[in-house]
Symmetry: D2
Amino acid sequence: MNTWGNRMKLTVFGASHGAGVGCALDGLRPGFKLDLEAIDAELGRRAPRAEPGSTARRESDRCELLSGLYRGFTDGTPLCAFFRNADARAEDYPHPEIPRPSHADYAAFVKYGGFSDPRGGGMFSGRMTLPIVFAGAVARQFLKEKGVTVGSHVLEIGGVSDVNFDPARVSAAELSAFDPLFPLLDSRAREPMERAIEGARAAGDSLGCAAECAAVGLAPGLGEPFFWSLESAVSSLLFSVPGVKAVEFGAGFAFARMRGSEANDGFYAEDGAVKTHTNFSGGINGGISNGMPLIVRAAFRPVPTIAAVQQSVNLTTLGAESLRLNGRHDACILPRGLIAVEAAVCLALLDGGL
Amino acid sequence: MNTWGNRMKLTVFGASHGAGVGCALDGLRPGFKLDLEAIDAELGRRAPRAEPGSTARRESDRCELLSGLYRGFTDGTPLCAFFRNADARAEDYPHPEIPRPSHADYAAFVKYGGFSDPRGGGMFSGRMTLPIVFAGAVARQFLKEKGVTVGSHVLEIGGVSDVNFDPARVSAAELSAFDPLFPLLDSRAREPMERAIEGARAAGDSLGCAAECAAVGLAPGLGEPFFWSLESAVSSLLFSVPGVKAVEFGAGFAFARMRGSEANDGFYAEDGAVKTHTNFSGGINGGISNGMPLIVRAAFRPVPTIAAVQQSVNLTTLGAESLRLNGRHDACILPRGLIAVEAAVCLALLDGGL
Amino acid sequence: MNTWGNRMKLTVFGASHGAGVGCALDGLRPGFKLDLEAIDAELGRRAPRAEPGSTARRESDRCELLSGLYRGFTDGTPLCAFFRNADARAEDYPHPEIPRPSHADYAAFVKYGGFSDPRGGGMFSGRMTLPIVFAGAVARQFLKEKGVTVGSHVLEIGGVSDVNFDPARVSAAELSAFDPLFPLLDSRAREPMERAIEGARAAGDSLGCAAECAAVGLAPGLGEPFFWSLESAVSSLLFSVPGVKAVEFGAGFAFARMRGSEANDGFYAEDGAVKTHTNFSGGINGGISNGMPLIVRAAFRPVPTIAAVQQSVNLTTLGAESLRLNGRHDACILPRGLIAVEAAVCLALLDGGL
Amino acid sequence: MNTWGNRMKLTVFGASHGAGVGCALDGLRPGFKLDLEAIDAELGRRAPRAEPGSTARRESDRCELLSGLYRGFTDGTPLCAFFRNADARAEDYPHPEIPRPSHADYAAFVKYGGFSDPRGGGMFSGRMTLPIVFAGAVARQFLKEKGVTVGSHVLEIGGVSDVNFDPARVSAAELSAFDPLFPLLDSRAREPMERAIEGARAAGDSLGCAAECAAVGLAPGLGEPFFWSLESAVSSLLFSVPGVKAVEFGAGFAFARMRGSEANDGFYAEDGAVKTHTNFSGGINGGISNGMPLIVRAAFRPVPTIAAVQQSVNLTTLGAESLRLNGRHDACILPRGLIAVEAAVCLALLDGGL
């Protein structure tokens, strides 16, 4: 279904080329003054750009608030936002019976019996991250009130890697200093990454990528021990973001090659706070925050819409088909997608008790 | 909270050294004949062994059914199973005020105000996987009825790797042929893996590891497009399993270094079924099964209980402490932990519509 | 919170004098052709009228569909409807610090810390039934497909009573023959009821009332045995409707004065169906439909907005205040409110397994 | 399903003549010292008695705690209680194919395809209130901490009525002074009520009845405005209790015959608190507590197990059958059932924010 959360409930609705996309975020504390400009700024980070690798589609990412605010403060009703679809060219995908490789077309055709809206990917479109980014921007304001800062950077694009966060020492200042449009720890990675994106775009191809996100200033004790562990909550939201196929916390897959004597994070006390010397755990033990920075990485598959001729099947006849797509799409989900990664983390933390 | 699922509801309860651990699994179709011996066999795969790397703790993994069966068939009430704790030595961890590094002790101390049961890790114990394995064994029987087979193998321990599944060709026969105690695709990896475990055990150390799991025979159309994508559901359960810190589907993190033209899975039809030549997607597109094998990998951190002296903090005084642990623990969660990985996949698929 | 249901999820949002009110109805089977004119007709039954006792407020009850339909069929996304508030005069209630007796003003002031929207009752307004009526109209179409008909009549207004349904014999034909604007079993009750409403209106007073609703054509086996018994589901929705303070099924409170030998509904078989001679149970045993007509009655309190001077308290000073209200309100919730009663029943049945 | 609640989750399981019945109550604040003797006392109020009208079945209502307490304090895990079934005579109902009138037998047969446990009513048995009473006793302790007292009395049995609570003035002292075994406001009603029960028992018949419950000391602001209004929450739990067929709050059905000018509860301030002169609203406005006593009444149908020959149908042959039941049952659910009514109110209030 389309509702998520325990302490709050987030419901999303809409489709890429229908009337619009939106969400209702329920359970927010009443009397919180929302900073609408800050939300706009976050939506702006998600918006398509006149930059290498970005989609040419012009969307109205302007948000219409249908409910939830009275005189600028949350009023106890669900905060409902709607984003009207303005610039949809329905003719883009003229053959819904020929599923695009690695898109949801075929799986959706079976699940929905051919009744789901195929235009622009319908409910599977990256446009569905718009309400998530909105809700994440709201969550971020509640987090900020508690001293929590969430930020992310591009970790890898086209074979070019940024360095990793120093997991025990990443700071709010470091996260706040990021270039909002192309955040990197080592800015020298930007030029080769952009060149790789531009090269893929020019070739009608696309690139996979990876992001790294940190949340600092977290109090210990957030999250739940089992089903709603912080890792479970963050990953279930991250895997909702179209294209995400891998998620790891702290040392992640590298743990498979470590020994306990290397991997354990010893404790010490500093200024009345309990800390760990290292932070291989990524700030989470037993599903619960331990007060150290939360560190999560996610990988995105390459955008499946590419210009090359691809093999498909006609779902009506089961005959082989060659497919050549035209469309306006990002050659790489990052850096735009970073804001969706951060939104997932913000929402999971808000639901986890912040 | 401790309840999970949409089409079904799984509730877990208990703690490692309390009366016992258990679960209630609600929403099962009535009139299904449960194979209790098959459940026992799966619990057996989780049981401690007289093998290298396994815990010396003797647990009663025998299951007491409190509810849900009448004359051997599901009867519409929640299936409730309870596992009494028999062999708990409460004196094992005499200093709850000195948190063990990379255990949940400190995070739990803050979250529960010192009231959570610290013995044996309490609700954070690996023993909590016992009800999950039980519920997974039940789910597997419902999956089997629909022709779905779920299996897994050890992918990596102590720097030794098994080969990966051939994602587009892994078969039920291959999964069924696994050695239940130490499943590997390439059995030559067993001896060096066991040697590594034994070496770590002898050194009072532990090893991280990784597992790979496949589900074959899935109909297309299972799962949901967004919050309850198959990836979200599987990962939220996998990240509930103590020690799991990384999850990836299909090509996973390797997608970050791929181009769309390499990564897309072209369609073809065979025997009236739509298939893909490759299966980088791991059987899931847009959060929904596409009929190809579901492929998921998970990494476990090294068991944090090690013999070496470790740095900790006295939570009462905030003074530094040296900690030396004694206890009965696995030196490596795998291969025992494989059954929990499979249980998570089985449960997510049952909830996803099977 | 503002989400309800198990097999489906209904989320409502909005407030009386904000941007509008709306709902998202998730979990509908894809591929169902919605009859939008039938929905309009039901919304019309709820609309204010140029009749005795009806509010003079002119609302746009025209529904804007934001999501959920593609080419006229449900498409698997939540069906989201929005009703813009057009004719709101914010100046109606100039003194939010002086709570109106028997309105939600004071309770809301405490719960929301003064941040809830007080205009027109905000989220407590009868206007919140608009999305419920919409969702109920959708549910009714799914019910109709299964041969279920839901109808209701005014049972009591101003001391004038209609006769009760014959609980074992009420038929779809009888329900369908109701006058949609003022349904009664004995039409002779209409004139004295209307006279009572008109009298109350003229006196600036209001009237309580009661409704009786039946669902016929139900298959046996709908509902759940305990928390989600049909009675629980129906009553929880009915008690969401502003003004409802009493709900009873079958013989209801009269059971308190009956003996088992009178109250039991003996079985017989007819045309291959199991039926009961009497239907004191109101079609529900053990929380589950038994195939006989579902019979439920609900009482509404008098609309609390009246012209008489009333005693109140200034919430800032705690000083006594005299309050005289002006506003545009129904003198009696029925007959308009019948459609909300039917909507609650339709939604509970859809969630109960239809 | 068998899970209920928002701020907490209550899951029930089991059946009358299976291994036992139980519940898991999740979301309790850790560190709360449970008074187990007080719980025992409440279970004692539910236990069968050597009194007129009570069942002769001897049950072990002794509670086994499977989870949730550590050293006497809630420990953050679900509080799981189990009640073993000791004295079940499976031969009591030898003909499951012949449904007992006004029992759940037939509805359950259809819903569960004949697989539900028919013995003793299975999951529909009054024994299912045992975990509810347990959970309610726990909830009551949390309420007590906040100054809330919940009590109830027999309102009507066999044509004999007690007086009603004075809704604006009922006090904790009055509730605490009740005779725990047969609470009445006017103790003169006891003798004729007991005589009526004894008469029905002697005749192999049963009696319907009604209860009235009050909660005093409630802070204003508990509950939710719509789906989870206090009325919705209380009624959904009350209608889960086997036999309850009617629920009303405050003036309830009598509202149908009132005018707004009579029914409105004018405000005044006293000792810094806002109160109402009258309390027709039963302490709830807009679904939220207003600080006045919560008043709710519920009616129970007569226990359907009676000695008279009854008409039924053989579900296999659809032939008519005459049914004569033997069994050990209460002739009247009250006064024993009062404790279940109070439990429902306590649980709804705990979930509503207390």
